[in-house]
């Protein structure tokens, strides 16, 4: 009967709220207890190094092109041996929306996201990070990948000597 259902539907919720009153709250009391973010949490950005200890970033500007809020800027430069790097690299975290598009765009795995989320500060310029603050000594999430050894460019090692690479063909030997 509909009336009986309505009465039940009015009274049952009271029992539910009373039960919840004596349950442990699920809230984490933040400054005293901190939640451990998931491994793929999108927090502060870092620049990593490749397994050889060189900077991974090749200053290709793909990240700043992918960035929807234009918070990444850099200047490209080239070393004597032909290896590209960023002369300066700047991320404005007061603008960053932590969408992760830059890390998806990065072809060398240089730019990676960390689980660090406590970025709040009273000093606005503190959240504008320069390359020295962004660059870490480790490899980040992938400790194998080395862009220059897989790209076929003779910068990290002479061409043909990288793993899985056959020596370059002498085009003269192809002539009839």
């Amino acid at each position: 009967m509909s009336l009986w259902r309505d009465i039940r539907g009015t009274i049952l919720p009271f029992w539910v709220t009373l039960r919840y009153l004596f349950r442990r709250p699920v809230t984490v009391c933040y400054p005293e207890r901190k939640q451990i973010p998931a491994p793929r949490y999108r927090g502060r950005l870092i620049l990593t190094r490749d397994p050889d200890g060189e900077e991974r970033c090749v200053a290709c500007h793909l990240c700043s092109a992918a960035c929807p809020v234009d918070c990444i800027s850099m200047q490209a430069a080239e070393r004597e041996d032909g290896r590209r790097y960023a002369a300066w690299f700047r991320i404005n975290f007061s603008r960053c929306i932590f969408c992760g598009l830059c890390t998806e765009a990065c072809p060398t795995l240089a730019l990676q996201m960390t689980a660090e989320y406590e970025l709040a500060t009273r000093e606005l310029l503190q959240v504008v990070c320069e390359k020295e603050e962004l660059l870490i000594d480790g490899c980040g999430k992938n400790d194998q990948y080395n862009f220059y050894r897989l790209a076929g460019i003779g910068v990290a090692a002479p061409r043909g000597s990288n793993p899985g690479e056959s020596p370059p063909v002498d085009i003269r030997s192809n002539l009839p």
């Binding site: 919720p13 709220t17 349950r23 709250p25 809230t27």
Partner: protein, 330 residues
């Protein structure tokens, strides 16, 4: 002469006691509500200010006092400033007639534990709750804002129509105790509280005072998601605070009314009578908070239809049946 002076001093002491208790109770009612609602929603309530957030009311008060007192340019200045005072003062005045404990026998004198034992105390309470409508309606009207006006209008219509049901629910109580004095009504409930004697009237009264206090499920006047905040949209600082405190004072007043009229007042075994009164009032307040944590808001036409088409006819029928029963019993 000496006797008059003594009576006067006693009244002042009682006034101070009641005022202090009620005001601090209202302040902590806010905290209790936030805590209980929080726990019902599986979160902690306020717990930052002081141990367990116990100083939160104080922090709120300081914040409200320090805020800018803004009066809209096109508002009706005097009415705008008067409205919050009306809603607080009417709530405070209601405590004058509520007996909060058994009469005290001290040095050969009998001190009634009520500030003023009016023989028409019940009518006084009803009159004050009608006056409280003015605070809301004038506040909504004086703000010169559509939302405030709508909120004020809704509050007026709702409070007037539910007051009718409330009045009708009180009539059986008056009939069985044969007095308008609250002390006499409590005395008539020594053996059996009116809630058991008049269950239907009790139910109607509970619903009516819930509507009267403008709380969920009857919080149409300040329905956040359609009217911003209803009649107090334009208020800020301590003027808003007075509306806020008035609302919680009203909660305690209505709890006290329910206790006096239906739950047997300060009657109860073992514990002192003041304790019983407080336990009952706080129990009613907890019930109100519980309802707020449970029920969704009614639609406006449902609310009016429920008041006029169900509660009022039921109240009239209840009076008829009670009167017939009392006549038959003699």
């Amino acid at each position: 002469m000496n006797d008059v002076l003594l009576t006067f001093i006693l009244i002042v002491i009682k006034l101070g006691l009641v005022l202090g208790t009620v005001l601090s109770l209202a302040a902590y009612m806010v905290l209790a509500e936030r805590k209980i609602l929080g726990r019902m929603q599986m979160r902690h309530g306020p717990n930052r200010v002081g141990p367990f957030g116990l100083l939160q009311p104080l922090a709120d008060l300081i914040k409200l006092l320090c805020k800018e007192d803004l009066i809209p340019e096109r508002a009706d200045r005097w009415v705008f400033m008067l409205a919050p005072a009306i809603s607080t003062i009417t709530a405070l005045l209601a405590f004058a007639v509520i007996p909060f404990a058994a009469p005290l026998h001290l040095f050969g004198r009998t001190i009634p534990m009520v500030i003023c034992d009016l023989n028409v105390g019940l009518l006084y309470l009803l009159a004050l709750s009608s006056l409280a409508v003015y605070g809301v309606a004038l506040g909504g009207w004086a703000s010169q804002s559509k939302y405030s006006l709508l909120g004020g209008l809704r509050a007026m219509a709702q409070m007037i129509s539910y007051e009718l049901a409330m009045g009708l629910a009180i009539v059986p109580v008056v009939m069985s105790s044969q007095s308008f004095s609250l002390t006499a009504i409590i005395a008539a409930q020594q053996t059996l509280p009116n809630a058991i004697r008049h269950p239907l009237a009790f139910l109607i009264f509970v619903i009516a005072i819930m509507a009267e206090s403008k709380r969920t499920p009857f919080d149409m006047p300040e329905a956040e998601n359609e009217l911003v905040a209803g009649f107090h949209t334009e208020y800020s600082g301590m003027r808003f605070g007075m509306f806020f405190v008035g609302e919680y004072l009203n909660l305690i007043v209505l709890g006290a009314m329910l206790t006096v009229l239906f739950l047997g007042g300060w009657h109860g075994p073992l514990l002192p009578s003041v304790c019983w009164f407080l336990i009952k009032v706080l129990g009613v307040a907890f019930f109100f908070i519980w309802v707020r944590g449970t029920m969704p808001r009614l639609r406006y036409d449902q609310l009016m239809a429920f008041g006029w088409k169900i509660l009022v006819p039921l109240g009239l029928l209840n009076i008829l049946v009670t009167a017939a029963w009392l006549l038959w019993r003699g």
